[in-house]
Amino acid sequence: MTTPFSPPLYMQRYQFVIDYVKTYRPKKVIDFGCAECCLLKKLKFHRNGIQLLVGVDINSVVLLKRMHTLAPLISDYLQPSDGPLTIELYQGSVTEREPCTRGFDLVTCVELIEHLELVEVASFSEVVFGYMSPGAVIVSTPNSEFNPLLPGLRGFRNYDHKFEWTRAEFQTWAHNVCRDYGYSVHFTGVGEAVGHWREVGFCTQIAVFQRNFHDSMSNAERLEPSVYRLMYKVVYPSLSDNNIYQRTLVNEVLYEAQHLRQEWLSRMDSSNNAHFCAPPLMHLFQHGAEGGTRDWQPVYQQGGTICVPLACVWSSPRVRALCGSVQRLRQELLEDERVRMSADGTVLNLPAAEEEEEEKEVEEEEDVKAVSVVANSVEEDWDRELGCCGNI
């Protein structure tokens, strides 16, 4: 089937979900019929606060093949995100009740229901709306009224479609669901025809359901799957993991402190004037924005130590972004063994001199034991041994 749409229709469907996520910021999202995990992969980038992303498909082979595309990228480790993210993939059917699928904020069923037999649609409704009862459900399905506009199409759009609904049929089903399970719905879609053809509606019709009642499940503890089979699970590195947070913060602080130290040392070197050092412009500027340079303290030397006041490090935007307050920063740093701080926690101590390349000769101890005998002093002649001394 050629796509008269640009961007292609499937992209528009994904974009619809992404836009929804951007507006409503669900924390837990489950995608039924995730197949090649394309939507999950997109949502992984367009997170907007998603913390749990689950994909379910009945076909485990597809999942196995594609699951590693959901693994964190190298950059996710290099620059951990602020919020946590866990991705899980299950093999299972939307017509089965699985306890661990309850308590979600959003369920997406993109082009799924038309692959079910009509009898299965009923149990699908019961499972998704009645049993899982998520905060919102996005269901998309072909609008059969649009079909005459698709060039060369006979029958259904896909060989595996069991039905294709008109707008009225889809809306009847949706309203019944709302009545039975306490949801409200509005209809929209993607892929519009032009001109007077607009009347046939969207190529893909979409129903967005909102739950009418408050649900107590959303904060419930996550359960182990009992019906579905867990195929893949990955926890993304994030700053909400304490170890990662600590490590990132300390790295940033040490980077900043080392640079201030280096800057100070090179200025000392060039001016040889140890009494005064002006704050670097960048810092002045930032502090200006903070309301004056009153609390600005210079880097100074004390014996073999370069002292970098915590306030200097605090002025780094990166450190600020990581740490809400100087107090917290101090607390975090005092706990870390990689950072040397003054007793009152106001100054970072760094060594003044770089360690020199050691060039001293280490006199090896004499009592090394002999590993093997020294070659015997009898002169060898390999040529003769080989019997080819003749030609010499």
Partner: protein, 858 residues
Amino acid sequence: MTGRARARSRGRGRGQEPAAPGAQPSVQQEAAKPVMHTPPEGQLVGRGRQKPAPGAMSEEAMLQISAGFQQVKIGERGGRRRDFHDSGVHTRQLMEHVKESKTGVSGTAIELRANFMRLLSRPLWALYQYHVDYKPPMESRRLRSALLFQHEETLGKAHTFDGAILFLPNKLHNTETVLCSETRNGEKVEITVTLTNELPPSSPVCLQFYNILFRRILRILNMQQIGRHYYNPDDPFNIPQHRLTIWPGFVTTILQYESSIMLCTDVSHKVLRSETVLDFMYSLRQQCGDQRFPEACTKELVGLIILTKYNNKTYRIDDIAWDHTPNNTFKKGDTEISFKNYFKTQYSLDITDGNQVLLVSHVKRLGPSGRPPPGPAMLVPEFCYLTGLTDKMRADFNIMKDLASHTRLSPEQRESRINRLISNINRNADVQNELTTWGLSFENRLLSMNGRVLPSERIIQGGRAYEYSPWTADWTKEMRGLPLISCMSLDNWLMFYTRRNADVAQSLLQTLNKVSGPMGIRMQRAIMIEYEDRQESLLRALQQNVARETQMVLVILPTNRKDKYDCVKKYLCVDCPTPSQCVVSRTISKPQALMTVATKIALQMNCKMGGELWSVEVPLRQLMIVGIDCYHDTSTGKRSIGALVASLNQGMSRWFSKCVLQNRGQEIIDALKGSLQAALKAYLKYNNSLPSRIIVYRDGVGDGMLRSVVDYEVPQIMQSIKTMGQDYEPKLSVVVVKKRISSRFFARIDGKIANPPPGTVIDTEVTRPEWYDFFIVSQAVRFGCVAPTHYNVVFDSSGLKPDHMQRLTYKLCHMYYNWQGIVRVPAPCQYAHKLAFLVGQSIHKEPNMNLDDFLYYL
């Protein structure tokens, strides 16, 4: 592998079943049927080497196998087909004298452990290859596999299918199985599964299969693939000062080794940087100012490899598009989209600096399904992470120290890291599950084996001989106060210094005088010349003062900045051939170290002028040793530089050296052929005869390049020798030397895990059955793990016993004059490396031929 399985792998398949063409004949069998891979015509023409191939392996069978081989791409990333393990290069069978045995006898036995694990398979294990046919034919690969695996109960859980070829660990009941499937819209499809091959455990396809399986295992263990290796992202360490992140990981390969299929695994580290190219540009701009920024930026960035933030791809920066910013647009499909919008909609990435210039990378990778490369890629600096270490970082002692403290592992630490991987493999249920469905497992401990420690050599110097401590492998102390073999007297020499270094220059001169006496070097006072601390004035000073009769030029450099060093070397190696010695003032500024430094300088200057320091006994006469190495110059258009160094005398103390710059599209050996002839002529001049034996040590052969050495370089070397006279037929051996290998050995000394002592030879178990190869641990290291060197004798008409080959090689590791101890490779390789490096780093031109007979590049 079990004994029975192995026995079967030697022979053909059982009874009526199709033969297994992938079977790798063991050595014994090869002896009976010598030629499995017939070298192309006109190559390797030696005595008794041109027997016709008895049909152990028909050409067609080989083709069939390699066709299957190429199609096995289960879960493999990238389309690279290069064989990094050099399998299929069968050189041993062509050398009569090592067919039976390639092991030596000298030395004392030592118990070792190696970083190898045996792969075990259940008895009679084989991989069954099936051809799968669909009626009616099915186009979609996905559909094909979905239809086939409706029959999982027939086919079993473990399977690997690429759309046409199916691999199973179990044999189906019938040779031909017909299955019926139904598509979702009710179409009936008949699937015929036909057995085409029964692959024994050691067949090439199986080996590739194991490697793919093992990668799967590493992925299950949550390791990240970067390049060819796997790293653990959950346990990084950082060097915050430079925003470096280091991931520990493993290099792994599963191959057929001497007696069994084993997994070789070594610890590896990946340096990543949490600094984007934009960060780097900012700080560079701050450092050098707006004016010089474009030039500096190009110089620093071009050639670097970057990693993109939004996928795991790496690119080489080839250029900077100064006229492009993220607001420029590109064509995506048939709409124009700006980079800014693209990244926003595609990856939800915001560009903070709209004025950053873009990077250009000329992508060489082919487009999807072999289409031509899509043209240069434009990259946004903000989304590109720098990778690896820059030269600047490498030169920074403190960074390297920090790095080493994490990456340099003691033998004990290294062994325990590897053991931890082994126990992870054995403990992880998913991994075990994956392995057992395939009927495979790994032995859960490292391989124990025996090596031999060669006797230490006697160092001969000035008519006397002494021994060195075998553990330190160093004779700095022993040689103190002993005269050298031959000394060049310094009658006419110059010392250049800057005003600031006038004092250190004087004290160096005095100390040189003091230390040179006991060595036997007569030294006249140097002519002292002061130069201004600028490159031009240094050059001018050289031009004005260095004369034809000048024997040596010593330059004291104020800093270790490369430009002045390059300037000295360029002028004195090319324009005005004179031995020269550079020394950075800092090195000689510490009075307590001056004696040691001056001694080293005196020795080095003596070598550069043609003096000889020490020697070892070489019990072969009329022998010429040749060392070849290359240097790949990335800065000047990736031109390679080849260096050839050949011995001129019995004591291996005089060397002929030649360096050539490779032309585009030329093999390095083509350029070196002339050098080899020149070396033979020099030998003739010195000895009044040509050598009757030539042994070539070829270093700098990359992974997967062995085939071209065997098929191309060896015949070229022979041709080159032939030009010396039709009846001149010296015995020739060609040994490929490899330093970058992942084999490691551990010894147990005083109950502690330690490095094997220098002189340890390993020539069993972990060597390759199809090669005449061995390992030698020649140097001693004070920290970390010693790295063994791998020697692969790819051609040998010398008839030398393996024991002699090993000992000769070890002896040559004693002969590098820039180090008073044993080095990692035979001296000629080390010399060739040094020469190629000097030319590639500093001179960029062929050195003047008047210097050929001197070790001027030390």
